[in-house]
């Protein structure tokens, strides 16, 4: 159906998508087996430990943020402690951020609670991309077509539902949205049909 252009766009752009640091966890060959992983493919059961550098990066990102924040705060003007300027509070926070990140680094707790990306990240990346496309088409095309397309894409391509299910749920949701948002709450949504 009409989900073709959107899905093509999403697939084409899947590799530079915001999915982070994928290189670390898998060898390239693992990605070649099939297209999107699919919702029905569970993650591998035994997951090898994350490499140590991931933990270091996990602490380095907030550290960099804290340092940048501190410079920004000083630029804003710290003022004095009895008469604080706009930068004092951000400076306090940035300093605390630096301390916490360094502690995270020093204690080597960067990996606490972290998970491997598995192959699931690709579905997430494609899904995110479809939302960005949706957002940019939303105002020019109106909510009807875009909602229908987004639903169809998520149900059929990401969710691997049957066409029948896809059509029923996609059309049903769009109609309910119309009834609730436009008729019920009379909210402003960009739309094609004005009646």
């Amino acid at each position: 159906m009409s989900s073709v252009p959107e899905s093509a766009a999403a697939r084409g752009g899947a590799s530079p998508a915001p999915a982070p640091r994928q290189g670390a966890e898998h060898t390239a060959s693992e990605y070649e087996d099939e297209d999107l992983g699919g919702p029905l493919s569970p993650l591998p059961d035994e997951e090898p430990a994350l490499p140590r550098w991931v933990g270091i990066v996990t602490a380095a990102v907030p550290l960099a943020l804290g340092i940048a924040g501190a410079f920004g705060a000083v630029d804003l003007g710290v003022g004095s402690i009895s008469n604080p300027g706009p930068g004092l509070w951000p400076l306090v926070l940035s300093a605390a951020m630096v301390v916490a990140s360094v502690a995270l680094l020093a204690l080597g707790h960067g990996l606490h609670g972290a998970e491997r990306f598995g192959r699931g990240w690709r579905i997430t990346a494609v899904a995110t991309l479809s939302l960005i496309v949706f957002t940019y088409l939303f105002e020019p095309l109106g909510f009807e077509i875009t909602t229908l397309l987004l639903m169809a894409f998520w149900l059929k391509i990401i969710g691997k539902e049957t066409w029948r299910m896809t059509l029923t749920i996609a059309v049903g949701t769009t109609v309910v949205v119309y009834l609730v948002f436009i008729m019920g709450l009379s909210v402003n949504l960009p739309r094609l049909l004005f009646f």
Partner: protein, 511 residues
């Protein structure tokens, strides 16, 4: 009696047809999302924020509150039947509840859970009805230094008592506080960290951030991690309670209710911790602890009473001090702010319809839930079968369209996506989004209070310690931020050596 008047006034608020309908809507929705593993009450409340613009404030909060405590009932059902906890706070229910279901006593487990939940919640509401006004009265004297201390303590407790690694939670909270500084300076009015972007002039909006972090982030996370669990429900038509069951679990329900009430008030405590502590207590007190984990009814009754009591009492700090005790309360805090109401000690006098309306709605809501979860439990069991591949697109559409309607803003949609990605990455790297949102909500209040305090003290930081209340609170901050982690760190070293020596100990509550 004078003091019954406001309580009766609250019932007057709840018993209007609109509020009754929204209360029923809220608790039913709560049951449904509680049954569905995945989307929790926090995400649901976040997603429904745009709806609250369209309805009066007390109605909105009554509905959102209903979702929260309704989810505690719903989460039980899947814990018992499938050993799949719908909510974190019902994880312990799986230990004995699922064992009961396997031996054909699912109905008994669900029955006692529902009754325990109802009693726990009711005890907690009654206690709250009397305690909340007292706390609010006490807090009237609080000035900026006390609020600084209280906000710091609240954020700290949520970070350290939460489920994640404390340092990572602290970093998440600091990020939330920094995000709150974006936009206009609250006192001088200077632009901060806006990078000349017009959208950021007034800072980040609460709604897209929460919807992104909790709603979209959760969905993106589950898309990647979705391992379809085989759903095979044991057939249970209805729940029932026998006299024998009730006699056996009476004590557990009473103890669970009290534990839940107190732990719920504690910032960061909430329902999950309460259910764990209640389970531990029952096991320790029991003359036959070996039955636990094999279908002991007290192991269901205690934690279930506790998590509902805690869900109820966690409203106390929000409604009386204006300090949310957990991330769900942070969102309800935000919802109140959106309505132009600032929760705090003045709420009870300025907006009695909200204060008493919400408290009294819980009496009614829990009655609804008792009805929903005893005779109608079979209906909810069927919901478990709805696939995530159908549910998540619907949720996504509700999020995207919902956030657009708030400001008719295309940029808000992009911000939701941005924070959705952030939420996903945070989860993947072991950072909890909860402390971030809580800190973001409290950020403005905390900075203003901090800077006002500095002016009051004329720059003397010791002033925070010299005032009795803020001094005590800061003492607690030091206790939780420095002393306790140190003790835990030292103990861990020792217990690691000990564990090697004496092998397995008995304290395996988490097993």
């Amino acid at each position: 009696m004078d003091f019954l008047d406001p309580i009766l006034f609250g019932f007057g608020v709840v018993l209007t047809p609109t509020n009754l309908v929204f209360c029923l809507l809220g608790v039913t929705l709560g049951m449904v999302i509680g049954v569905l593993p995945g989307l929790g009450p926090t995400a649901t409340i976040a997603i429904l924020l745009p709806v609250t613009y369209a309805i009066p404030s007390e109605t909105a909060i009554i509905m959102l509150a209903g979702i929260y405590y309704g989810a505690q009932y719903g989460g039980t059902i899947t814990s018992v039947l499938l050993s799949l906890p719908g909510e974190a706070s019902t994880v312990v229910t799986t230990f004995d509840g699922y064992q009961m279901a396997r031996t054909g006593r699912a109905g008994n487990a669900l029955g006692i859970a529902a009754v325990g939940s109802f009693i726990g919640a009711t005890i907690s509401i009654v206690a709250m009805t009397f305690v909340a006004p007292v706390v609010a009265g006490f807090a009237l004297d609080f000035g900026p230094p006390e609020y600084t201390a209280l906000a710091v303590l609240g954020i700290l407790l949520v970070s350290t008592l939460g489920t994640g690694a404390p340092l990572k939670c602290a970093i998440a909270a600091l990020l939330g506080l920094l995000l709150a500084t974006v936009g206009r300076d609250p006192i001088v009015g200077a632009q901060r960290f806006t990078f000349d972007v017009l959208y950021l002039t007034d800072g980040f909006d609460f709604v897209p951030i929460v919807m992104g972090l909790f709603g979209l982030g959760e969905i993106l996370y589950q898309l990647g991690a979705r391992a379809e669990a085989a759903v095979a429900t044991s057939e249970v038509g209805r729940a029932w309670i026998s006299k024998q069951d009730f006699r056996q679990s009476r004590g557990a329900i009473a103890r669970g209710s009290v534990i839940g009430f107190f732990l719920g008030i504690l910032p960061g405590g909430g329902a999950t911790l309460a259910s764990l502590v209640a389970y531990g207590t029952e096991k320790r007190r029991s003359k036959t602890p070996e039955r636990f984990g094999k279908g002991a009814i007290e192991g269901v009754a205690g934690p279930e009473s506790a998590n509902n009591a805690a869900a109820t009492s966690s409203f106390i700090p929000l409604l009386t001090l204006g300090i949310p005790a957990n991330s769900t309360m942070a969102i309800i805090f935000g919802a109140l702010l959106l309505q132009g109401i600032s929760p705090g000690p003045l709420l009870i006098t300025n907006n009695p319809e909200v204060f008493w309306g919400v408290i009294d709605s819980m009496y009614i809501g829990n009655l609804f839930l008792l009805i929903l979860s005893v005779p109608m439990v079979g209906l909810f069991i069927r919901i478990v079968r709805v696939r995530a591949s159908i549910l998540s697109p619907i949720t996504v559409v509700v999020i995207m369209l919902g956030v657009y309607t708030v400001n008719t803003s295309f940029y808000d949609m992009l911000v939701v996506i941005g924070f959705g990605i952030l939420g996903y990455l945070m989860k993947k790297y072991g950072f909890e989004p909860g402390p971030l949102v809580l800190a973001f909500v409290l950020g403005g209040l905390l900075e203003t209070a901090f800077r006002q305090s500095l002016r009051i003290f004329n720059g003397d930081l010791l002033g925070f310690v010299e005032r009795p209340i803020s001094g005590t609170l800061f003492g607690a901050v030091v206790l939780f931020a420095v002393v306790l982690p140190l003790i835990r760190y030292l103990r861990k070293g020792r217990s690691a050596r000990k564990a090697r020596a004496e092998d397995e100990s008995k304290a395996d509550v988490g097993a």
